[in-house]
Symmetry: C2
Subunit: 420 residues, 2 copies
C-alpha cells in the first residue's frame, strides 16, 4: 500500500475510534512529517484524502481540524454538508431560478435537434467545429484570448478536459495547486502518476484559478499575474489557467487572463459555461498550447467527446446570436445585487459581526463570536460552509446565489437563530 | 523516454522515410522482441501506437502491415480512412436517418427542460437518481442484470466510465483486452499505470465485449462465457463486460450477459444507448460490484458527471414509457434487413466473392480475389474497412448501417467498380 494511504488509514481509525475527536486539531504537516519520518507531501496527501472523505477540514491559517463526529456521540455536533431538503442553501452556490431564461435555451435546443443528420454520427472528439469557431471569437473578444479553433477542445466539464491534458503530458511531473480545495483535480493528476504539491512555484505544471483563488473568491492581483508569467518563462513550467468565475469579478475591473498576458505561450486556458448559463448545463473548453494541440491531433483516437452534441450545437447558436453576452451582464448584476443585500441584512441582524464581500462579489465572509462548540446547523434549515472555529470565533463563507431575493431576510434570520 | 515510444519512433521514421513501404509486413511481435531484446509487451505497445496513428494495420492472423503511404509516392495507394464527403460510408457504422424518431426524442427533451428547478444545481455525480432507477428496471428485464440503482454509474460514453473505474482500482494491475482494436480503452488503462496485455487470461482485469468480440462482430459462445466465469472465480480476476452491440445479436438467440451468468460477482457490466438511440446522443452506464460501489461512494468527491442532465432526464422518460423497447425492435429489424439485402446484392454483383454476415448481424465479411496492390478507394465514393490483403486475396468488413435502403444497389456497384 502507498505510504500516504497507510497514514490516512491510521488517522481514520483514530477518528472513528474517537481517539481524535470532533474539533481536535490535527498535527501540523511539518510535525507529522517529522514524527512519522515521511515527507511533507506524503502527509499532505494523507490529509487531502481525510478531507475528501469528510473526516477533517482545513482552516485558513491554523491547519486541519477533525470535523467527523462519531455516531456514538450525541449527534449534536454535526455540520450539515449535503442535505437536499435544506431550506436555505448558503453553501452550494447553486443558481437562482430567475437567472436563466430556460425557454430561450429550449428554442436553441429545439433548433439543434432539427439538424437531424448531425446526430447520425458520433460527435467530433475535439468538439463540434462550429462551436469551436464561435468560442474562438467569443474568448478573443471577451478575454483577449486569441486562439484558432483547432487549438480548442470541448468537454463536459473541466475534469474530462484535465483528464485529456494528463494523458497528453507524460507522467511523473510535479504539479502545483493553490490549495487543497480542488480535490477532483488533485486526485486526477495523482492518478495519472504525477506528484501533486501545494503552492510550489518550482513545479513543472502550475494550476491556478486567478479569479477564484480561495474558497472565499480572492482574485489574483495583476502584479502577481505578471510575476507568475515571468517566473514560468524562466522555468519553462506549464500554467493551467482555470478562468472559473471570471464572469463575476466586479469589484475591480476584470483582470486580464494569464493567457492574454503571456501571449498564449506555456498557458493552457480553461473556461466553462456552467456558471454563466446554469449548473445543469455542462460545457467547458480548453485552449491548448501549439505543442499540446499537435499532440492532441496525433492522439485523437485515444479520446472521446463527452459534451452533449445537442447542447454544443445549441450553445453555438446562443453565442453567435449574442445571448451569452447579455446573460453575462444579467447574472453579474443579479448576483452582486443579492450579495450586497444579503450583506446589508447580515450587518443589521448581527451588528457585532464582521461581514465582507469577496473580490469576485459572489460570497460573503462572516466572522462572529460564537460561544458553543464548533458544531451548528443540524436544524434542517440552513447549510453553510464553515471556514474555521477557533477561540470562540467562527468564520463562515456564505454563498447567497441560490436564495431568491424575497427570501434573503428570512435566510439571514435563520442564520442568526442558528448562531446566536 | 519509455522504451516502447523509442521503438514506435524508430518504426515511424522507417515508414516516413519509405524504408518500410505501404503493404510491407511488419516483423512479428515475437521476432521484433527477440531482435530488439525487449519484452513482447513493449513491442505490442509500440505497434498499438503505430496502429493508433494510422501507420500500420493489424490483420486477423498474419500480423501487422504498413498502411501509410508516403506523400512522395504517387498517392494511388491510400486507403480512405476519414473522409466526411464520402458518398457511401461502409466503414463507420453510422446510423440510418430513418432509424430514430427524433421528433419523439425532442418531446422528451422539451419535457425535461420544463423541470426547471433541476437545472439550478449540478447533476448527481453518479447520474440522475430517477434515470438510475429506470436503468435498474430496464437491464433486469432485458438482460437479467440485477442491480440496485446505487450500484449504477452514468456517464457520457464508456470512456469516462472506464476512467472512473481506473481511479477506483489501484494501479499496477495487469489488464487483458481481446485485441488491439479498442485503442482508447487500452491507452486509458495504460495511462493509469496498468500493464495492458492481449488475451491474457491470467490478468487481474479482463475486458471483454461478448457481443462484439472482433471488428467483424463475432459473438462469444455460451460455452466460452461459462469457462471465463469459472476461470475468474478461481483467479479472482475482475471482468469488465462491455455489452456493446448486444442489441443487434439476432442470428442466435441473445446470449446471456456474463454478469447474469455469474450472479454479478466480479463483473462490472457496461451498457450504452448510442447504438439504440443515435450516435449523437451519448449516455452510457456501468454496474459496479458491491465492493467497487462502496469505493465509489467513498470517493464520490473525486469525480464529476459528464452526461448531459437534459438528456439523462429525457432518457429516463423515454425508457419508462417503453419507447426504448420498441426502438430496440425497430433498429434490429431495420439493420438486419439492410445487411441481408446488401449481402444478397453483393453476391449477385460479385458471384465469385465469398460473403458472410457476422454473428451480430450488422456487418458483412467480403473475401475476394484482387490483383492490384492492397490499396484502393481513393475515389471519393466509398470508404470501407480493409481487414487484410495477402497473396492476391482482399478481405473487407462492410458496415452498411448508414446506407439508405434505396441506395444499397448503387453502393454495391460503387464497391464493385472500386475492387474490379
Amino acid at each position: 500500500m502507498k505510504k500516504y494511504l497507510e497514514i490516512y488509514n491510521n488517522y481514520k481509525e483514530l477518528i472513528l475510534s474517537n481517539q481524535l475527536k470532533f474539533g481536535d486539531r490535527m498535527p501540523s504537516v511539518r510535525k507529522a512529517a517529522a514524527s512519522l519520518e515521511v515527507s511533507k507531501t506524503t502527509i499532505e496527501n494523507a490529509y487531502f484524502e481525510l478531507q475528501a472523505d469528510g473526516y477533517i477540514i482545513s482552516t485558513e491559517k491554523s491547519g486541519f481540524f477533525v470535523c467527523y463526529s462519531n455516531s456514538d456521540s450525541k449527534g449534536e455536533n454535526k455540520i450539515v454538508i449535503n442535505n437536499k431538503d435544506i431550506k436555505y442553501d448558503l453553501k452550494s452556490g447553486d443558481a437562482d431560478k430567475g437567472s436563466f431564461d430556460i425557454s430561450l435555451w429550449q428554442r436553441y435546443i429545439k433548433s439543434a435537434l432539427r439538424q437531424e443528420e448531425r446526430f447520425l454520427s458520433y460527435g467530433d472528439v475535439q468538439g463540434e467545429a462550429d462551436l469551436r469557431e464561435a468560442l474562438s471569437d467569443y474568448i478573443r473578444e471577451k478575454r483577449n484570448v486569441s486562439a484558432s479553433p483547432d487549438r480548442i477542445v470541448v468537454g463536459a466539464g473541466v475534469l474530462p478536459l484535465l483528464s485529456i491534458l494528463c494523458s497528453l503530458i507524460s507522467d511523473n511531473k510535479t504539479v502545483s495547486f493553490p490549495d487543497e480545495s480542488f480535490v477532483q483535480g488533485i486526485n486526477l493528476f495523482r492518478d495519472y502518476g504525477n506528484d501533486v504539491r501545494i503552492k510550489d512555484k518550482n513545479a513543472d505544471i502550475i494550476y491556478v484559478s486567478p479569479s477564484h483563488m480561495t474558497s472565499f473568491g480572492s482574485v489574483m492581483p495583476i502584479k502577481r499575474r505578471l510575476e507568475l508569467i515571468s517566473h514560468t518563462k524562466t522555468t519553462n513550467a506549464l500554467i493551467i489557467e482555470d478562468d472559473f468565475d471570471s464572469d463575476f469579478v466586479y469589484q475591480s475591473k476584470p483582470t486580464p487572463a494569464l493567457y492574454a498576458l503571456s501571449g498564449g505561450k506555456n498557458v493552457v486556458y480553461m473556461g466553462s459555461f456552467s456558471n454563466v448559463l446554469i449548473p445543469g448545463i455542462r460545457i467547458s473548453f480548453m485552449v491548448l498550447t501549439e505543442e499540446l494541440a499537435r499532440e492532441f491531433e496525433k492522439n485523437k483516437l485515444h479520446f472521446a467527446q463527452t459534451a452533449s452534441k445537442t447542447e454544443q450545437i445549441a450553445l453555438c447558436g446562443f453565442i453567435r446570436d449574442g445571448h451569452i453576452k447579455s446573460q453575462n451582464r444579467k447574472i453579474r448584476r443579479l448576483y452582486t445585487e443579492k450579495t450586497k443585500e444579503f450583506c446589508n441584512e447580515l450587518k443589521s441582524a448581527l451588528p457585532d459581526a464582521d461581514c465582507s464581500i469577496s473580490d469576485n462579489g459572489i460570497s460573503i465572509r462572516l466572522v462572529t463570536k460564537f460561544s458553543k462548540d464548533l458544531s451548528v446547523f443540524e436544524n434542517n434549515t440552513i447549510s453553510v460552509f464553515i471556514r474555521s472555529y477557533e477561540n470562540g470565533v467562527l468564520k463562515l463563507i456564505i454563498s447567497p446565489s441560490s436564495i431568491p431575493k424575497e427570501s434573503i431576510k428570512d435566510a439571514v434570520n435563520a442564520l442568526k437563530t442558528a448562531i446566536s
